[in-house]
Symmetry: C2
Subunit: 400 residues, 2 copies
């Protein structure tokens, strides 16, 4: 399949073969670490190739806060970003985005986009939510208006956004949850995933979209439920799978355990995406457990709050010791912030409440994450990931 097969070409090809869409978002496994579960690969999409393992910057409202799209591409070299269906559904509205040519066109981002289903935001942000077999009734956190998200409607919203990778509506639980509640939510998530997938296939047939839908494995912190969920979702034969319901307050050892028991159940030749993780020192742990894709607001949110990640550990920029520090934030970093500015200047911007701080800090923190991903990918391709991981673990121990 050609690298940049056009959308219309793909669409006409699809008419003759129902399941061809699976190939639209296609994973090419390039290398596996012999000693861990780590893999390197390439995800082919209609908006370019995503080299994995990959970290996806979060662009909640069709913008990675404070960062121009030019810099996301030219400075960070992000291959894919994540946008939030819930937020874009409420504002500016998915129909408006459809009218303007989809999300890539709307926000002028030519590379790949993954959209979540909105399920997580419905459960964390909205008011008065009511779950039924049909879906979730909720009130907007913006104006209180009532809306219903169903497995089908969230697929439709994501078709309006025309994202490359879509997620089905799932039920997210807080931590801790009882086994009974977790089982019920997991079973509903599976039923919703089936409905969403059926609807997705119908829509793919009708439209020219070159998208994929990645079902989400739920099951809270119960290994048995995770296994049951994965087994049932495998029947959908999806081009990729996600692991959801982590980073909801559980200890990190549990997040790792749930990841570790789930990834081996997922198809080796499809990408695996753990949603909403993690800290910089956790990235290699997820990759070691066979994870190909991650996203998290942490690097960008922490950046805005003045917490910067560097190769020598965290920098809390408001600290007085940086007041007259002429050194770059991270002398091992080649981002425009570190190439251009001193810690003293960054501290001044932060203390003065200047928005340029958020921009420079976000570019740095995201570059730090993406650099870690690029180094891991290189290590996997060169057969050196085991050494990389050992080294990362030693550094993490030293800095604590």
């Amino acid at each position: 399949m050609a690298r940049n097969r056009s959308v219309s070409h793909v669409a006409s090809a699809r008419k003759s073969e129902f399941l061809a869409y699976i190939e639209i978002v296609r994973f090419e496994l390039e290398a596996e670490c012999p000693a861990t579960g780590a893999r390197a690969g390439r995800i082919h999409t209609a908006h370019g190739i995503i080299e994995t393992p990959v970290f996806m910057p979060v662009g909640t409202q069709a913008t990675v806060k404070g960062v121009m799209q030019r810099d996301l591409a030219a400075e960070l070299d992000a291959h894919i970003i994540l946008a939030n269906t819930y937020h874009l559904f409420l504002r500016p509205g998915h129909e408006l985005i459809r009218t303007l040519g989809g999300l890539h066109s709307f926000m002028s981002w030519p590379r790949a986009i993954l959209t979540d289903s909105g399920g997580f935001q419905v459960f964390s942000l909205s008011h008065l939510r009511k779950i039924s077999e049909d879906g979730v009734l909720f009130r907007s956190h913006l104006d209180g208006d009532a809306h219903l998200f169903t497995p089908e409607s969230t697929v439709d919203v994501q078709f309006a956004l025309a994202s490359d990778i879509m997620m089905p509506l799932d039920e997210c639980l807080d931590y801790p949850s009882s086994h009974e509640a977790a089982n019920e939510a997991m079973l509903r998530t599976v039923r919703w995933a089936r409905s969403a997938y059926q609807h997705f296939k119908r829509r793919i047939e009708e439209t020219a979209s070159a998208s994929a839908l990645f079902p989400i494995v739920q099951g809270s912190m119960f290994a048995g439920l995770r296994r049951d969920c994965a087994a049932q979702l495998l029947e959908l034969d999806a081009p990729g799978y996600a692991i959801g319901g982590l980073s909801v307050g559980e200890p990190r050892s549990l997040s790792m355990e749930m990841t570790e028991i789930t990834t081996p159940l997922l198809p080796r030749d499809r990408p695996r995406y753990v949603m909403g993780v993690g800290m910089p020192e956790e990235l290699s742990e997820y990759v070691a457990r066979g994870v190909d894709m991650m996203d998290c607001v942490l690097p960008s949110r922490n950046a805005r709050n003045g917490c910067l990640f560097t190769s020598a550990g965290r920098v809390i920029i408001k600290q007085a010791r940086y007041r007259d520090d002429p050194a770059p934030l991270d002398s091992n970093c080649n981002c425009i912030t570190c190439r251009t500015h001193s810690r003293a200047y960054l501290r001044h911007l932060f203390q003065s409440g200047e928005m340029l701080f958020s921009t420079l800090a976000t570019i740095h923190n995201l570059t730090h994450y993406l650099d870690i991903m690029r180094k891991m990918r290189q290590a996997i391709l060169l057969g050196r990931f085991r050494a990389y991981l050992d080294n990362a673990r030693n550094s993490a121990v030293e800095s604590t």
Copy 2:
């Protein structure tokens, strides 16, 4: 004089000739409009050449809010920016900036910087100010600490910042003011300018600074006082002069009148800087009256508030009519905002409170101002400024 003569070279040359510093910031008059007072020129500084007429983006706290220094240079091609002595004195402190190599080094801005004296901010922002012949005693708007600004101390602060063009402490009055109060403030401004200039010359002798000090003509809205003030300041034989005390609430016709009676009194071979102006449609009026330099927070502040200047008039981006408008903000503008994004996307960012809006809007508004200045300069050089001005006036009438 070589275009980029280094600071140390200049300093060693200066030791042998006391007044050589006047040449450090040197104005080269390139063309004059035969029908109006408009002029085109080049101001040579130790940090590059400033082509005039010029509009200086305001970088109050050592940052043009929301705009990276890279974009100020590469996208806007600003030759000079303005920074505020009052703000930088309070935070992070001028001694810190001196320690870090001066303001150019501190903020990583390799081109020219003009700093005001802080006088305007003392009168508009600070509390409990008390004016004496010595200077102004005031309390910081940040923490209430008491500080004294004297003609000498504000020069010293600006030497610590190492700006290319410095301003002496002056007394700014509100509008309206009585003739008596205006006369008293003008006379004090002249006395302070003399003290500042003497001190400045001493400091220039001692240091390696390649800076200039531009005295400020005051006199409120009284033509006679403006004339008296200008006549006395001319005795200083400064390398440039400023007109202050405008844009303080007076009708625009008065600002123009005061400018018109003052510029002919100032040396033809020195740049003239009107402080704190103006609206886009006023820029050509000031230039027609012989003004070479201007600055104003208007384009950047309005940008953040969603008021955008375009070749077809103002765009208030929150208006519903831009909701689904796929057109660029200004199809005649070549800034990165207009090259990349639609009005619909900009409106979405504004409505969502996303800081990327401020960045994109500020880049656009400042580009709009700088483009007007570049067009005027071209018109003057080509002997077509009279036609440019007539056309600008007709457009202004049409859009009101």
